[in-house]
């Protein structure tokens, strides 16, 4: 992984997560069953797409990095199949038992070994939604970060970044090196791997490395998750003509003093 001068080497931090839509909750124990389906975190897929877009427009390389169990190879393969050049798996079977800051430290330690100047990460994760690793990697590297990113332009060392802020759209400027947390696949739609891409990906190698330091979670104790009960016995209208259904809803809204 040598660095050519003047070339922008981009790393994308990705995570393999349970498919959030196939999680079921046991009606008796109220414990969640995560199912067997594992996918690339939604926002990370956008980040990979944006990184490949940057590479196509401005040149450079894209390396995907994950800290996780060996099954996480699948999300790395998928990224390789959509145009990423290299992949690194930091072997961390117990990745969910480690706090966010430790995960950020492990990732930052790996990133330091390479010549990356631009790090992309998803805005948040589908499973635990901590949303901390991006800004924390930036902090540990001593780099600036920009969140909620929707588009990136690179000119020399300058990054012009569009972001979707609270009640406004913003354009911010920063310089390399930097960490960007990607929100949206709007400008550069998420790329799905083609069969040809998958074949090509299988020929690329995934570097498997040991974490440079030990993860920990000594400062937080998590209880087992239990289902949130919501006991709503609502009125559901089915097979009612639109006008009549609308009239019943309007009447109900008035009854509840909502209009």
């Amino acid at each position: 992984m040598s660095k050519l001068s003047g070339q922008l080497d981009i790393a994308v931090i990705v995570k393999q997560v349970p498919d959030i839509n196939s999680i079921t909750v046991d009606p008796v124990t109220h414990r969640p069953d995560l199912g067997s389906e594992r996918v690339m975190n939604t926002y990370d897929a956008y980040a990979v797409g944006e990184a490949i877009g940057i590479k196509e427009r401005f040149g450079g390389t894209v390396t995907v990095i994950t800290a996780g169990p060996s099954s996480a190879r699948e999300v790395l393969l998928r990224a390789l199949a959509t145009g990423a050049d290299e992949a690194v798996l930091i072997d961390l079977p117990n990745h969910n038992d480690i706090d966010s800051l430790s995960t950020a430290r492990i990732l930052a330690a790996e990133i330091r070994k390479h010549g990356f100047e631009l790090i992309l990460a998803g805005q948040s994760t589908d499973d635990y939604e901590m949303g901390q690793v991006g800004p924390q990697v930036a902090e540990l590297l001593g780099w600036p970060h920009v969140s909620l990113v929707t588009h990136v332009e690179v000119e020399g060392r300058t990054l012009t970044v569009n972001r979707d802020a609270e009640a406004s759209k913003e354009v911010v400027e920063t310089s390399l090196p930097a960490v960007l947390m990607v929100l949206s696949g709007r400008d550069r739609p998420q790329k799905f791997p083609t069969l040809r891409g998958m074949m090509a990906a299988k020929k690329k190698t995934i570097a498997v490395v040991e974490p440079g330091l030990n993860g920990q979670s000594r400062r937080l104790e998590w209880s087992d998750p239990v289902a949130i009960e919501r006991d709503v016995k609502g009125t559901i209208l089915k097979d009612v003509p639109a006008e009549q259904a609308a009239a019943e809803l309007a009447a109900w809204l008035r009854e509840q003093k909502l209009v």
């Binding site: 999680i23 909620l148 559901i236 609308a246």
Partner: protein
């Protein structure tokens, strides 16, 4: 200066206190009564004397400190990281409560990394267990809840979800206000705002709106949001959007309700063409009344709806708008 202090970061937006700030005061007061500590509201910003006085007038606040620096406006996570880090150094609090706003979520992780503190985001409840802070939060798309206990004695950082606590009310006397000098690291000034376009006045009010009409993928295309806007207008409601529509570029992120957007708890939440993905439900399931209009009878949104219509939104919504308009006249 004691480790029983509860430090609240008093955020503001467009010159106004964030309503979630008042909710944080309620949460902080409860904790402080147990720790026998003080509730200190810190107000970082530029020209924020007025905001500070507003916070000082709220019941349950013991002290307000103002960190007034030009670099703190407009909001950028770097300078706010510097300021909040300084404040935590200064107060050595038992706990730091930060709004789980788009801005709070931006600087809180950085502060935690800088000070080597544990941070739990999006708390929906806070309690004490033998002197340790316990934060409840929803995970796995809001389907399940877990409690997280801070085990060491360093300051416990949490961001608190909007709508999790009731809002504190103005009190009879005002808390003292002091100016605090915070240092802003030069390295934290490396991002600059070039352009900012305010869009859609309605979006600003999403978290404080009493009524919200939200649209989802079922609308088919961006233009069809007009149906949602028309209905919102007769209801005097703010317009929200599901994550799918934001991801598709139909709506801006500022309209998004859900785990990476706003958490809302209006009296009425009317979901149009929203199936109710877990990421969406986590953002609106605290609403008093949820109404759903969707074609798919198995859509999860109906499981949380007080009133649902299984049907074609393109027929039901215009009919509803027309009838409500007629009712108002």
């Amino acid at each position: 200066m004691s480790s029983s202090t509860i430090l609240v970061i008093g955020e503001h937006h467009n010159g106004r206190i964030r309503p979630v700030g008042l909710e944080l005061i309620t949460a902080a007061r409860r904790l402080a009564d147990e720790t026998s500590g003080e509730v200190v509201i810190a107000v970082p910003g530029s020209g924020v004397a007025g905001i500070a006085s507003e916070f000082a007038a709220i019941q349950g606040v013991d002290r307000v400190v103002v960190a007034d620096r030009d670099a703190l406006a407009p909001f950028l996570p770097g300078p706010w990281t510097s300021a909040v880090t300084s404040l935590i150094w200064l107060f050595r609090p038992f706990a730091v409560l930060i709004p789980a706003s788009i801005t709070g979520r931006d600087y809180a992780p950085r502060v935690a990394a800088r000070l080597d503190l544990a941070l739990v985001p999006d708390a929906i409840d806070l309690s004490l267990d033998e002197g340790h802070l316990v934060a409840n939060r929803a995970v796995l798309g809001g389907r399940v809840q877990t409690s997280v206990r801070f085990t060491d004695t360093a300051a416990a950082m949490v961001t608190v979800a909007p709508g999790a606590f009731s809002r504190a009310e103005p009190g009879v006397s005002a808390a003292p206000i002091d100016a605090i000098d915070v240092s802003i690291k030069a390295d934290d000034l490396r991002v600059s705002l070039v352009e900012k376009s305010e869009h859609r006045a309605g979006a600003k009010g999403l978290t404080s709106a009493e009524r919200i009409v939200s649209g989802g993928r079922g609308l088919g295309q961006a233009e069809n949001f007009a149906l949602v806007e028309d209905l919102a207008e007769v209801l005097g409601a703010a317009v929200g959007a599901s994550g799918a529509t934001v991801g598709a570029g139909w709506r801006s992120h500022s309209d998004q309700v859900g785990s990476t957007g706003h958490t809302v708890s209006p009296k009425l939440y009317l979901a149009v063409g929203i199936s109710g993905a877990p990421q969406h439900l986590v953002g609106m399931s605290g609403s008093d009344y949820i109404v759903a209009i969707n074609r798919d009878p198995d859509a999860p949104i109906f499981k949380v709806a007080s009133f649902g219509i299984v049907g074609d939104l393109f027929e039901v919504v215009p009919a509803l708008t027309r009838q409500l308009k007629a009712m108002a006249e």
